[in-house]
Each structure stands twice: as structure tokens, then as C-alpha cells.
């Protein structure tokens, strides 16, 4: 474990925590512009977090400890996820602790905890939200795993750093499996981050919401942590997408000074990605909840087809 490794690891965590709400703000701003509304400030998510942290936390009478600890668990999971995805450098001391499969497990752990917490209060909305969240999860999770496996087959590794190193520094080659995986990944990340067409982050209409129903009973600092964790999740998913499909610019262990270049590259890539997400959300309409399984099954099949195509054509 070198000094530069520790530095890049620390920098990655700090940047993820600090920049994640900014990314959310950026997407919201573009959504507003594209929908002909006047946009909120870029810093609106930070003001929101600050306001919520200042507020008193209101907890239901019979809530158990599970309910109160779940926001912290989810926040911890998301920070760890951002820490192991190579965004700035592939020289990360924490990365060997979790590979692609463990990353998917990490998201699942957060999801299970937050769903259980939503069921803890025992209101109709909470349990409905938990059920829907798990429904989205059980289809999105294997699809995400298959997307990551498509990349693992190319690099013969499930370690995220090795995947990024292989993909970033390959000679120009065409991987026919990756486009399928890419489409599948976009679909999965829309569902996982509660975006249109699966969920609408702006709505509070009880019959349509997924993510908002889950966190309905939270307030004050707990809600702030959950909102922050949601931003971190969006950040993490964006970084996975960048790492798998646009990995250029990430610094390697041998060249820590390349991080100076990696940071602006990351910001640029995230800015473009955030704009595309806002565009996608503006162009599509929210579907009925019963259509979501079909949507995610399509993503799952696309990801599997991507792996098969790779195996068929790569030999």
C-alpha cells in the first residue's frame, strides 16, 4: 500500500461524497431547462441537505432500531461502493476487498436494509414501497451482474480495477458484446436510481412512487442521509457506466500524476452523462408499474445476449 494509493483512495471518497449532490443538481437543472421550466440553482441539493440536517428528526412511536440505523447503513454502503469503483485511479487500496460481484451484493445489502426499514413502521405506503423496491431489485440485480460479467469475460477478471485497466488501455478492438451490455446497463440504472420511465423522482403521488414511498416516514437527518445516499448511488452508477464503457483518462498505479488529468476528465464525463440522463428522462414517459418487470426482463435478456455474443464472436 503506497502513499499515492492512499491519496487516490482518500481523494476518491471525498470527491464522491462532495460531488454526488452536485451531479443530482446538474441533472435536475437540465431537466428543468429541457422541460421549459426555470431551473433551480446547481447548489440546491446542498441547501436541501443543510436544511434537513438542521431539522429535528420525527420518528414513529413504535419504530425499532432497524428503522433508525438503516439510513446510516445505506449511506455507508454507497460510500463504500463509490470507494471501490475506479473513477480517478486504478490504484485503490480498498478495491481488492470487493470485486464486481461484491459490488452488486453491496447494492443489494443497502436495498434489503432500506426495504426492511420501510416495513418497520407498518404503514400501507411503506410496505407497498418495500415490495415494489424489491420487485425492481430482484430483476435489476442479476441484470447488473450480467453487465459486469460481460466486461469480466473480456478482461478475464471480476476485479473492477483490472477490468478498467484492461478496457482503458486496450489496443483498438471492437467488442460486439459491449453494446448490448451498454443498453442493458442504461435500462438497469434508470430503474435502480428511480428515474423516469420506471419511477419519477419529482412525484409524491402515492400510486406511482417507488423510492419516495420507501422513505416516506423519514425526516430530518435520516432523510438527509437517505437523499445523500441516493445522490451517491446515482454517482456510483454513473461511475460504473463510465468505467465500463468510457474508461479513458483513469490514472494507473504507475502514473499517479495522471490523476491531475483524471479529475477534469471525470467531471467532463459526468457532466455529459448527466445531460444525457436528463434528456432521456424528458423524452420518455413513466410506465405503469406492471410494465416494469417487462422492462427489466428485457434488460436482463439483453445483458445475457451480450455475454453470449461475446462468447460466440470472440473465439
Amino acid at each position: 500500500m503506497s502513499f499515492s494509493g492512499l491519496l487516490s483512495q482518500g481523494l476518491e471518497i471525498v470527491i464522491a461524497i462532495a460531488l454526488a449532490p452536485l451531479l443530482t443538481g446538474w441533472v435536475n437543472q437540465w431537466r428543468a431547462w429541457l422541460q421549459n421550466r426555470s431551473a433551480p440553482s446547481l447548489l440546491q441539493p446542498y441547501r436541501m441537505l443543510h436544511k434537513l440536517f438542521n431539522k429535528e428528526s420525527m420518528v414513529a412511536d413504535h419504530a425499532s432500531r432497524l428503522f433508525r440505523s438503516a439510513p446510516y447503513v445505506k449511506f455507508g454502503c454507497m460510500v463504500l461502493a463509490c470507494a471501490i469503483i475506479p473513477t480517478l485511479s486504478t490504484d485503490l487500496p480498498l478495491a481488492p476487498a470487493a470485486d464486481a460481484i461484491a459490488l452488486v451484493g453491496l447494492f443489494a445489502l443497502a436495498r434489503v436494509f432500506i426495504s426492511l426499514a420501510a416495513m418497520d413502521i407498518g404503514t400501507a405506503f411503506g410496505t407497498m414501497g418495500a415490495r415494489r423496491e424489491m420487485l425492481v431489485g430482484f430483476l435489476a440485480e442479476p441484470a447488473l451482474l450480467m453487465v459486469l460479467f460481460s466486461a469480466s469475460l473480456i478482461s478475464h477478471s471480476t476485479s473492477l480495477t483490472t477490468i478498467v485497466e484492461t478496457l482503458a488501455h486496450r489496443e483498438i478492438a471492437i467488442y460486439p458484446g459491449l453494446p448490448f451490455a451498454g443498453v442493458a446497463f442504461v435500462m438497469v440504472s434508470l430503474a435502480e436510481n428511480a428515474r423516469v420511465p420506471v419511477d419519477n423522482p419529482a412525484t409524491h403521488l402515492e400510486l406511482t412512487m417507488l423510492h419516495e414511498a420507501l422513505i416516506l416516514e423519514y425526516s430530518g437527518r435520516h432523510l438527509a442521509l437517505l437523499e445523500w445516499a441516493a445522490s451517491l448511488k446515482l454517482f456510483a452508477y454513473s461511475c460504473i457506466g463510465l468505467a465500463l464503457f468510457f474508461p479513458w483518462g483513469v490514472a494507473e498505479a504507475q502514473a499517479p500524476q495522471a490523476m491531475l488529468l483524471a479529475l477534469p476528465a471525470l467531471v467532463l464525463k459526468l457532466a455529459i452523462g448527466g445531460f444525457l440522463l436528463a434528456l432521456l428522462e424528458t423524452l420518455s414517459a413513466k410506465m405503469r408499474i406492471f410494465r416494469v418487470p417487462e422492462f427489466l426482463a428485457t434488460a436482463f435478456l439483453l445483458a445475457v445476449i451480450g455475454m453470449l455474443v461475446h462468447l460466440l464472436l470472440a473465439r
Binding site: 440536517f53 455507508g76 481488492p96 476487498a97 420487485l135 430482484f138 471480476t158
Partner: protein
């Protein structure tokens, strides 16, 4: 001569369990004596067994001959790494279950406690015997003892008709399995007439007879493991049995079937054909998917766990199938990886499934309710059971950093890096198989959230649940022991794989031990570049972020909190019955996987005086496979009954005719 071998120690444990059982019969109705002295004693013997087995893992195989049975046909016993590993699992799991059982049995539940004690310990002893047996005779005798003793345990509440019919179904399936096993051993001895396993190892069967033996073994052991289509007894027998017995049957007994398949396929049979592995893989995948889909729509908590056991047996079959495929192509390091994943899952399944069944036992005692629709909110009245069950739930859902995740991780690793199997079809199939595995484990997460959420979270759905009491000290001890197993298996994979190493060395002549030991706390089966997983760092990472976030929020802002009624979007009239029930949780699965089920719906019309909504979910196998067979058996029985006139003279004539026919056959 007075040199004590480990196997003698095992026999002492075995004899000890039988003595404890006999003592139970002597103290037939003295509940306090049976539960507070005899069951803990049995648990201590289980710990002793676990310790002995740990020592036996790395030592050389030992044999013993017991002069039981016919004069020229003694019991041959043998203790090698494979049996030592399974003995370790049996010992560790039974110690926890016995401690729980010490506080579990109550007065007036069918079979008297002393008799239950005998059946329970005979069951344990026979499982140990099955794993130690070194000839077909001993194996079959002990296998049958195991089936019979567990049958009596299942029917402990024999005054309830459903329990009796579940018991009969179980014993029928067990016997169908036993018959095929008998035939399998018949094929394995290849006409030599010598039924010791040593002789079977020496026989070089041709591909045809070896395949016959393999298929018979899969049928026989598959009936015990409950793989498709022989699974029907599991969801009936597990809910019927008292909870410690369900825990033993599901967490421990099912593993003897896995042991049997490993023993026959990788030890007794010298030939290894790749399509055997393909067959196991196909069976395992369908079983796993079927099991988890059915588990997610169940409304009875023990049936749900029984279907989850079917799913886990399916995963174990997938692991064994993969091992056989790799072994068939002589890719021994890969075979070792798949086998390690299988054996790891055996141990973690034993821990978490026993733990979950014990949890349902405590809930059952506190509320006398098995239906998920009448539970809820128990984490507040039963915190010990609730939080310990949560650990089991996390392990069962295959979430890091618990035990279930490690085996799943190893299994997926062995799928991903099947480097160029010679058959292109197999290479193509493997991603599909990995996809199904991923889907199954994600669905397991759904099922477990439903299980835990509906029982322990939310508001109590019935008034009586407010008086539910937490588990007693004995029950807690047993559950804590098993929960510790789940956590330790999750956090110390490298250390535990060292224990599995001798077994894989014995069966496929390769192991992960040396490779894994290099990376210290990180689990890296091949190299750090290829794949690694560090559960301790993982857990510390999450906990560190947890603590840091907590402290920062307190330091920068405040920790003020106010309690109040739930907000619920401002609807004030919410009642406990408005929460999602188990049926509600199953509804999306019923919709998505509709072809899996036979469903009958009764929907109310607007004009009903007493509207009723009912859904009955059944499985296709029961309707299309078992009902016709039962009808056929009944038909044949009715035909046979025509011969039974009830008059002595007719029966005498039957005997006479039989005698004449026999004489003719012999003299000819």
C-alpha cells in the same frame, strides 16, 4: 492395542447419543430432566463430535469394524476427510439445535418428551453412522434408521391428521429413494458379491453400468435432498415437524444426500463422464428456480423455509454438476473451486437454515401462529429472536458479508472462469447458467425480505401478539451459536477454506488451500488481479462509514429526535390490516412466473353477501405426476383386494398354489 483412534472417539459420541436416548425413555414424562439435562448433554456430545472431526480432517483415513448384524457381515466404518467434513457440520449444527431443543419442548404435545429424546438422538446417531459407513449393508441399515427416526419425529404431533399424512408422504418418498440406492449399490459391486466400499472402488465399471449407477444414485439421494420432481415431501414434512426437528432435517439431514452423491460420484465411481455433470446442473438449476419462486408465494413461514431449502439443494446440485463437468475434462483446479463452493454452501446452509427454523420455532411458541398473515411487529416483543433471525435472513439472502454470499461468490467465480471447455455448447451454456444463479439469489433476497418483514416488522396484525414473549435462555444459546456460525463463515472464508482443502484434495486431487493462504485476509482463489473479496475489510468499511456519518451528524448538527404517530402521507385511519400481507408480497411473483403455478382463484361478485377472495397455489408436479400415480396405486390396490375374500380356505388355497409354483420353479 490401547491406542485410541479418532474413529473410536466418534463411536463413543455415537454410543453416548444412544445412551442419552435410552435415558430419555427411562425418564419418559419427566420433562425438566429430559430437557434440561439430556438435551444439553446431547449438545455437548455434538460439540465433541465437531472437535474430533476437525482433528480428523487432516489425519489419515481410519477404519473400524463393528460386529453388529449377521455373523459374517459386520459393519465396516471408515473416517476420511470427506466424512470428517460432514461430521463437523453435523456436530456443529446439532450442538446449536440441541441447546435450543433444551428449552423448546413443552408438555402435552403428542409424543412424550422422553420418547422424543430417544428418537432425536437416534436420528443424530444414524446420521453420523451414514457418513461413517464403509459398506452398503451398514449404509443402508443406518440410512433406513435415519429415515424411520425422522419419520417418528415428524409425526410427533400425531393427533393432527395433516401431520400424519405429511409423515406418510415423507416415509414413502424416503423408501422410493432407498430402493434406488439399493439398486445402485447392486450395480456398483459389479457382480462380485462383496458390498464393501473398498471393493466398489476397485471395480472398473464400463460407461454404461457406471452411468446406470450414477442415475440410480441421483434418484436415490435426490429423493432425500428434495430435488425436482422428488421434492413434494419437503414442504409437507418440514412444517409438520417440531421446529428443532425441522432445523435438523433441513440443515443437517439434507446434507447427507449431498454427501452420498459426492461419495458415489467422486469416490466410488472411477469413471467421470461430463454429461453426468450436465445432468446435475440441469436438475439443480430447475430445482433452485422452482424452489425460490415457490418460496416467495408461500404464506406459511415453515413452508416458505422448506421451499427455500429446495432452492439451496438446487444450488448445491449446480455446484456438484459443475465439479463433475470440470473433473470429467480433467480440469482439476477448476473442479476444486466448484467443489469448494459446494462444500462451503453445505456449511453455511446448515447454519442459516437451522437458525431460521429455530427462529420460527420461537415465534410459534410465543404466538402459536404459523400463518404469516397473522403475525407482525414481533421484533419489539421478541428482540433476541428478531435480531438473530435477521442475521440468518441476511445469510440466506446471499448478502455480503455473511456466509451465504461467500459460497455464491465462489460458485460464480467458477462459472466465469471456465477457461475454454472443449465442448462449445457448454461454454455457451455457462453464462446462461450464471444468469439463472444470479436471478435465483436475487429472488432469495426478495423472499427473505418478505419472511422477515412480515413476521417481525410492521404492526402486529393480531391483538394477542402484543403478549408474545421472547425466547428463553436455552433457546437463545442455540440461536446465538448458529448465528455465530453464519457470521464466522462470512468473515473468515480463507481460514475455512483451509478446512475444505483436504476434502477437495481427496476427491479431485487439487485444492484451494495453498492458493488462498497466500493472500491473507483477502479471499482470492486465483490471483488478486483476477478476483478478490475481503469480507473483513468490507464490513469495516461499511461500519466505518456508519460510525463516521453518525458522529459527523452529531458533531456538526444535533441529535434531536421526537417520537410521534406515523405520518403515512397524512391518512390517519390506517390499521394494522392495511399492511402488505404475505399474499400481497407474493402477488408480483405470481404474476411474473404464472406458468410455474396451478392457480385457482375465487373472486367475489358485487352481489355476494359475504364476499370471499381466495387464491390456491399448487405445483404442476403434484397434479400431473403425483395424482396420476396415486390414482394408479389405488386402482391396483382395489384389484388386489378382490383376491382377499376373508375366508381361510381361500387363503390356504393361495398358499398351496404358491407352494406348487415355487416347487415347479425350483425343480425345473
Amino acid at each position: 492395542m490401547t491406542h485410541w483412534l479418532l474413529i473410536d472417539g466418534m463411536l463413543v459420541v455415537l454410543a453416548g447419543w444412544l445412551l442419552v436416548g435410552v435415558a430419555g425413555v427411562l425418564a419418559l414424562r419427566r420433562l425438566d430432566l429430559v430437557s434440561h439435562v439430556l438435551f444439553p448433554l446431547g449438545g455437548l456430545l455434538g460439540l465433541l463430535l465437531c472437535g474430533l472431526a476437525l482433528a480428523a480432517l487432516t489425519s489419515t483415513p481410519e477404519v473400524a469394524v463393528l460386529p453388529i448384524g449377521l455373523p459374517s457381515l459386520p459393519f465396516h466404518l471408515r473416517l476420511d476427510s470427506l466424512s470428517a467434513y460432514f461430521l463437523m457440520v453435523i456436530g456443529a449444527a446439532s450442538a446449536g439445535v440441541s441447546a435450543f431443543a433444551a428449552g423448546y419442548f413443552r408438555k402435552g404435545e403428542g409424543t412424550p418428551p422422553g420418547l422424543l429424546c430417544l428418537e432425536y438422538h437416534a436420528f443424530l446417531a444414524s446420521m453420523v453412522g451414514v457418513v461413517l459407513a464403509d459398506d452398503a449393508y451398514a449404509f443402508m441399515v443406518l440410512w433406513e434408521t435415519m429415515a424411520l427416526s425422522s419419520f417418528f419425529l415428524v409425526t410427533a404431533n400425531h393427533r393432527i391428521p395433516d401431520v400424519r399424512s405429511a409423515g406418510y408422504l415423507y416415509i414413502t418418498m424416503a423408501h422410493i429413494g432407498a430402493i434406488t440406492l439399493l439398486l445402485c449399490f447392486g450395480v456398483l459391486q459389479a457382480g462380485t458379491g462383496d458390498y464393501t466400499f473398498a471393493n466398489m472402488r476397485a471395480q472398473a465399471l464400463g460407461p454404461f453400468w457406471a452411468s446406470v449407477a450414477f442415475v440410480l444414485a441421483v434418484c436415490g439421494f435426490g429423493a432425500k435432498a428434495g430435488v425436482l420432481p422428488l421434492h413434494v415431501w419437503l414442504p409437507e414434512a418440514h412444517p409438520a415437524a417440531p421446529s428443532p426437528v425441522s432445523a435438523l432435517m433441513s440443515g443437517v439431514m439434507l446434507n447427507t444426500a449431498i454427501y452420498g452423491i459426492l461419495r458415489v460420484c467422486l469416490d466410488l465411481l472411477q469413471l467421470r463422464l461430463w454429461w453426468w455433470g450436465g445432468l446435475l446442473l440441469a436438475i439443480g438449476l430447475t430445482t433452485a428456480l422452482f424452489g425460490v419462486v415457490f418460496a416467495s408465494v408461500q404464506t406459511d413461514m415453515k413452508r416458505l423455509l422448506a421451499y427455500s431449502s429446495i432452492e439451496n439443494m438446487g444450488l448445491l446440485f449446480v455446484g456438484m454438476g459443475l465439479t463433475l463437468i470440470f473433473a470429467g475434462y480433467d480440469m482439476l483446479p477448476m473442479a476444486a473451486l466448484a467443489l469448494t463452493a459446494t462444500l462451503y454452501h453445505v456449511a453455511s446452509h446448515a447454519c442459516f437454515k437451522s437458525l431460521l427454523f429455530l427462529g420460527t420455532g420461537s415465534v410459534l411458541h410465543a404466538t402459536s401462529e404459523r400463518n404469516l398473515g397473522r403475525l407482525g411487529g414481533l421484533i419489539r416483543t421478541m428482540p433476541w429472536v428478531g435480531w438473530l433471525t435477521l442475521l440468518g435472513v441476511l445469510a440466506s439472502a446471499g448478502l455480503p458479508p455473511m456466509g451465504g454470499f461467500v459460497s455464491e461468490w465462489l460458485l460464480l467465480q467458477s462459472f466465469l472462469f471456465a477457461p475454454g471447455l472443449p465442448v462449445p455448447l457448454l461454454t455457451m451454456l455457462i453464462p446462461v447458467v450464471a444468469a439463472v444463479i444470479a436471478l435465483v439469489s436475487a429472488l432469495a433476497g426478495y423472499t427473505m425480505v418478505k419472511f422477515f418483514g412480515v413476521i417481525f416488522l410492521g404492526q402486529p396484525r393480531e391483538d394477542k401478539l402484543a403478549q408474545a414473549h421472547d425466547a428463553g435462555l436455552w433457546e437463545r444459546t442455540g440461536m446465538v451459536w448458529l448465528a455465530m456460525g453464519c457470521v464466522a463463515l462470512g468473515l473468515l472464508p480463507t481460514q475455512f477454506i483451509q478446512l475444505i482443502d483436504p476434502v477437495t484434495q481427496q476427491l479431485v486431487h487439487a485444492g484451494l488451500g495453498a492458493r488462498v493462504a497466500k493472500s491473507g485476509w483477502l479471499l482470492a482463489p486465483n490471483s488478486l488481479e483476477q478476483a478478490s473479496y475481503g469480507p473483513v475489510i468490507f464490513l469495516l468499511g461499511i461500519l466505518g462509514c456508519f460510525a463516521l456519518a453518525f458522529l459527523m451528524v452529531r458533531w456538526l448538527y444535533h441529535g434531536r429526535m421526537r417520537r410521534g404517530p406515523p405520518w403515512a402521507c397524512g391518512f390517519p385511519w390506517g390499521t394494522a390490516r392495511m399492511q402488505d400481507t404475505a399474499e400481497g408480497f407474493g402477488q408480483p411473483i405470481r404474476q411474473i412466473f404464472e406458468p410455474f403455478f396451478v392457480m385457482r382463484r375465487e373472486l367475489p361478485t358485487p352481489f355476494d353477501d359475504q364476499p370471499k377472495y381466495r387464491v390456491v397455489v399448487e405445483d404442476h408436479f403434484w397434479r400431473w405426476l403425483y395424482v396420476p400415480i396415486i390414482d394408479l396405486a389405488n386402482y391396483l390396490a382395489r384389484l388386489m383386494s378382490r383376491m382377499q375374500q376373508g375366508r381361510i380356505s381361500v387363503y390356504l388355497m393361495y398358499s398351496f398354489l404358491t407352494l406348487v409354483a415355487t416347487l415347479l420353479a425350483v425343480l425345473r
